[in-house]
């Protein structure tokens, strides 16, 4: 088990290297460089930069040098913890995304636990009571969940909350806590606000995971070990929870590998609609403003979250399924 985890951890630097190259190429992708577009932007707003400042910026980022040198400079600064400065905000990128990254992770994890807490019972009930009222009810519910775009759900709920209850449900904090440092009151305030984005973001995933679990469980429920467990005298619920659910949950756990990153990055539109202080809206703004250092840093942090999500799912799988542990150990 330890060997398995260490092996997974050893691949990480390599993965991050590949991802950093991709992120850097994204920064380089637009025509011209960002200093040019920044100067153009300044010119458009009526101000200007003198040639010495422009050259200083160019030299700082190594723009007069070949691409691989530029990448090397960027990655060196990155490794030293310097993400660079957002040209748009004129602030260090680390300051800009630090707080938002934390909130993104908190919201992502909350959504994730919500999804599983709802999807597991729905999947189990749908499979064990196949073709019952519950099964059909949740089937319809799941199709609606999968088919409705999450931003749409967000808009509808916002509208309902505003017209029916007269409250505004955007953001993750009340105005008085929005720009405050962390405190107990702020955490409580976050708890009061996080449930709605959590439910909205989780509906789609809940529906998908419940469908997957139902299908897997239906396969498992006819396996001979079920008959054996019954023949032992085990009660129906205990045996369902101990054997088939345990086996049907494996594919679900391996779906974490893509589901966690999806929660982190897929919340972009919903976060924009709900005006959440996560990194999604910031990415949108940096892309519109061609603030490519910021965009690159955000894309890289998405990659980082994806890698961590996959790592968690790999470790969980090995912990759950001895067959995977053994296979890895024997290699």
């Amino acid at each position: 088990m330890l060997y398995y985890i260490v092996k997974r951890l050893l691949i990480l630097p390599f993965l991050l290297f590949v991802f950093s190259v991709i992120a850097f190429l994204l920064i380089q992708a637009p025509p011209g460089d960002f200093v040019t577009s920044y100067v153009a932007e300044l010119a458009a707003s009526g101000s200007s930069m003198d040639q010495i400042q422009i050259e200083a910026l160019r030299q700082l980022y190594g723009l007069d040098q070949p691409v691989y040198v530029q990448y090397f400079k960027w990655i060196t600064r990155l490794l030293q913890g310097d993400l660079g400065i957002s040209l748009d905000f004129q602030k260090p990128i680390a300051d800009l995304i630090g707080q938002r990254l934390l909130l993104t992770v908190i919201l992502g994890l909350a959504t994730f636990f919500f999804t599983f807490a709802i999807a597991l019972p729905i999947g189990i009930i749908s499979a064990t009571r196949q073709y019952s009222f519950f099964d059909y009810f949740f089937t319809v519910f799941n199709y609606i969940g999968v088919a409705t775009p999450t931003f749409m759900t967000a808009l509808i709920l916002m509208w309902l909350a505003f017209t029916e209850l007269g409250i505004t449900i955007t953001g993750l904090f009340s105005p008085e806590y929005a720009d405050q440092p962390w405190s107990f009151g702020r955490v409580v305030d976050l708890g009061k606000h996080i449930w709605l984005p959590m439910v909205i973001l989780g509906l789609d995933g809940t529906a998908r995971l419940a469908r997957i679990l139902r299908a897997n469980l239906l396969d498992e429920l006819n396996k001979p070990y079920m008959e054996m467990a019954r023949a032992k005298g085990l009660s129906e619920w205990r045996l369902v929870l101990k054997y088939p659910v345990r086996l049907a949950i494996n594919p679900l756990v391996s779906s974490l590998g893509w589901y966690l990153p999806l929660i982190f990055s897929g919340s972009l539109i919903v976060a924009t609609v709900l005006n959440l202080p996560t990194i999604g809206p910031l990415l949108l703004r940096s892309l519109i403003g061609q603030d490519m250092f910021l965009a690159g840093a955000i894309v890289l942090s998405y990659f980082g979250l994806a890698v961590i999500g996959t790592l968690i799912s790999d470790i969980l799988l090995a912990w759950l399924d001895p067959r995977i542990r053994m296979e890895e150990a024997s290699k």
Binding site: R230, G233, Y243
Partner: protein, 363 residues
Amino acid sequence: MFWATACAMPPTPTIDRHTAMTEKNLLTVKNLKTLFVMDEGTSTAVDGVSFTVDQGQVVGIVGESGCGKSVTIKSILRIIQKPGQVVGGEILFRQAGGKNGADGEVIDLAKLDGRGKEMRAIRGNQITLIPQEPMAALSPVHTIGNQLIEAVRLHMDVSKVQAAEIAIKRMAEVGMPNPEERMELYSWELSGGLRQRVMIAMALLCNPRLLIADEPTTAIDVTTQAQVLSLLRDLQENHDLAIIFITHDLGVIAQVADDVVVMYLGRVMESGPVDDIFHNPLHPYTKALLASIPSVHGTTRGPLPAIEGAIPHPFNRPTGCPFHPRCASHIPGTCDRRTPVLVAKNDRQSVSCFLQNDAAEED
């Protein structure tokens, strides 16, 4: 006087030997009927099966695939799942319950709720199952020990440590080398023979009165088969166990069984002591089955005699005797119209065939 007249009457051969349950009978199945009700139609998987298992006796149930042997034993265990259901008959089981292994009350398992507490207390405790495929019957993600300990603690009020001791003792008894170490292993880390030993150990954990072995040697190779059979025979003698042994292999039946029940399409065709069935088969189906066994002493090089035709589809059962379309000696006008019932032919064998008793007919 009524009693005097009754006693004076000569015993008639048509008396159903499974009506009265005597002291030595452990299990008496009477007219068991199990249906599978599906959208496509209703399939009568078990259609009025009757047989008796005495204490310490090995009864072999033999028949082709689809003849209802597995459904019969699942019905006895009451683990038939929907859309199947036991709709009729009695499953009389003499429980343990008295002190020092003395007999307790006779209970009709057919009347219990299959998922209820009472049935679950009997299942896995007094009646246990050895499954057909040990690999599939064990969970791949739980250790052998976990599954054995669970089986003990379902029926005995013991700690995990005590349960593990019981499990290790049983594993040693069924010839499992290094039982303590094997407890930590998973099913897929054992060989086929050892896996089946785990299942046998599991079936013995709670000192059952009746062991049901569902083709326990089908999934393992021939040399291991012989070991498993002799192990079962030894255990049966040492524990005075009653065993219902299901197989389609007549050779296996000849090795292990005291009594044989021959089934075809959910009905009992013939039953009796193994020697009589093998040397004096009465039913054409039994005769045909025996004729199709390859013999090492055979003189001819011709093809083995096979039974003509195939088993009818369960939704499309023939009228009359279920075997008549494949029976070489069926009586036209009788066998295809009237259904024979199982009657005692002599004091040992019972047979369900008009050729043996033309009075036999279902009402």
